[in-house]
């Protein structure tokens, strides 16, 4: 189908640069993209009748990974071996 209306998961790997070009990178576009991503995640995992721990645990895991990435340079100094 047409490239513009497809979501990221439906875009094939070879078409990724073309899809990135058609993407909307203005502030409103980025904000809209963030809102759409959050609302789709929210409606799939949190806004349900019988949810479980999965909804927030994935958010917390993502936060852990992100904070580890931010403080990687500091943690690198406490390595056990010098050469890997």
């Amino acid at each position: 189908g047409p490239l513009l209306e497809r979501r990221l998961m439906d875009v094939r790997l070879g078409e990724l640069p073309l899809w990135l070009v058609t993407c909307d990178f203005s502030p409103q576009g980025l904000l809209g993209g963030v809102q759409k991503a959050w609302s789709s995640y929210y409606n799939k995992y949190i806004n349900v009748k019988r949810g479980g721990p999965a909804g927030i645990s994935m958010l917390l895991a993502g936060y852990c990974l992100l904070s580890y990435g931010w403080s990687y340079q500091h943690i690198k100094r406490h390595r056990w071996r010098k050469y890997h």
Partner: protein, 228 residues
């Protein structure tokens, strides 16, 4: 003027009634990885593919010390174990409690809806009864018309009575007036006649009449004596 840029009911979606919430969220394995990832790798690597990938990544991070083991690792391990133990033990109870709260909310809303429907149905019944009552209006108006006719009749007769009484009073007055006049004339005439007669009796006539009376009495007494 309609702004053409605004979408005007172009989609099938409406705001009410809202579609019900989905029963369960997206499938997540081990609480962290969505099921779609396993399905994505299944055609190429089968069932054990993602686990192999996970193990390989973990060993790579550890061996290259991209993930460094330090005090935070120990803390994270303790915290994670406590969290997982808590979820496994109390998860079902908390879920049941939350479900009960939801049930109560839904039951309240449903009760309100049912009460509203019942109220409206009783209102419909009342309305039908009022419509049936309207048919009896003709009887009501006939009764009222009869009442008014009776009032008019009574009033008319009262006035006739008044008229009759008034006329009778006036005629009685005239009659009484005539009677009075005649009576007065009679009395006056009698008095005048008596007065003149008494006046005409001169003393001479009075003496003559008294001696005549005495003679008559004597004659009468003689006759009576004779009779006895």
């Amino acid at each position: 003027v309609l702004h053409a840029t605004r979408p005007v009911h172009t989609t099938q979606q409406r705001l009410a009634p809202l579609p019900p919430l989905p029963e369960k969220g997206g499938e997540v394995r081990h609480g962290l990885i969505p099921e779609e990832f396993f399905q994505f790798l299944y055609p190429k690597t089968g069932v054990t593919g993602p686990y192999m990938l996970g193990t390989g990544l973990l060993l790579y991070f550890l061996s290259k010390e991209i993930y460094v083991i330090n005090h935070e690792t120990v803390a994270a391990a303790c915290i994670l174990s406590v969290i997982i133990y808590g979820i496994k033990k109390f998860g079902a109870d908390v879920a049941a409690f939350a479900d009960k709260l939801n049930e109560e909310k839904v039951a309240n809303a449903l009760a309100v809806k049912n009460a509203a429907i019942k109220g409206l149905e009783t209102a419909i019944e009342e309305e039908k009864k009022e419509q049936w009552r309207v048919e009896g209006r003709s009887f009501l108006f006939d009764a009222k018309r009869n009442n008014i006719a009776m009032l008019l009749e009574t009033n008319y007769r009262e006035r006739l009575m008044t008229v009759y009484n008034e006329v009778k009073k006036r005629l009685d007055y005239q009659v009484a007036l005539q009677n009075l006049k005649r009576q007065k004339e009679q009395d006056h005439m009698i008095q005048w006649v008596e007065k003149n007669v008494v006046q005409s009796i001169t003393p001479q006539q009075q003496k003559e009449s008294i001696t005549k009376c005495i003679l008559d009495l004597k004659a009468l007494s003689k006759s009576v004596q004779v009779a006895v």
